[in-house]
Amino acid sequence: MDQEGRRDSAPIHLLVQSDPEGLADLQARLLSLCTQAGLDDMAAFKLTSAIVEALNNCIEHAYGGETGHPIDLIWTKNPGEVAIEIRDQGHPMPDLAADASPMPGSDAESGRGWHIIREWTDSVSYTRETQENVLTLTHRLP
């Protein structure tokens, strides 16, 4: 959105279920959206990775691994950036803040997702709105 609140195009809503099986198809769609937004292959891979990690977190933590719950992904291309809003109705993060824990040790099997999200986006914000968790990621466009 520019200073006058304009968007480049209408937001794209992708309603997905909390099902890991569905993320493979969604990953391809996200990669395509990144490319259409003007990102090169590397930048598209990085942003897609960050979004997939955020969706993994919804499934694994907000919904505790239960399938069949809704996750709403809203992709908005604004002048100079894309914004990705991810909404779920699961458990909130305990401290209502995007996890700032450091990268785990090299032998750790988990804990890398948040690091990928933070490093491969330009901003991360997390809020709780009524019964929904709202994670918003932004990424500058070339």
Partner: protein
């Protein structure tokens, strides 16, 4: 999950799929564990076809590496794309795994 698997010179060579994500992580982990337990513990994972991997996929490889090293083996990676390599570099796992351009190079490293 069916992973393409063959053995050469006592080394298990496994081709990873196009995507290694949360949905496939449990199966892939179990398959690798079985191959490591039944083989020499020396593995080459070929990522030539792998265009996308998430943190669940990384966890599968770390799990395999730990299992292999318990058997005095190792897990060597080959054929990594620039994008997947960026993921390894971000997560510092490029310092944990030995990464080779191709299978012959990895097999030579196993001696």
């Amino acid at each position: 999950m069916n992973l393409e698997h063959r053995t050469q010179d006592g080394v298990d060579i496994i081709k990873l799929p196009e995507r290694l994500m949360m949905a496939d992580a449990a199966d892939a982990r179990a398959t690798l564990k079985e191959i490591i337990e039944q083989g020499s513990g020396k593995l080459v994972l070929n990522l030539t076809d792998t265009s996308f991997m998430d943190s669940s996929g990384l966890a599968v490889l770390v799990s395999g590496l730990q299992a292999a090293r318990k058997r005095d083996g190792d897990v060597l990676l080959v054929g990594m794309s620039n994008t997947v390599r960026a993921l390894f570099e971000l997560t510092r796992l490029h310092t944990v795994f030995q990464i080779f351009d191709d299978e012959p190079g990895a097999l030579r490293a196993f001696g």
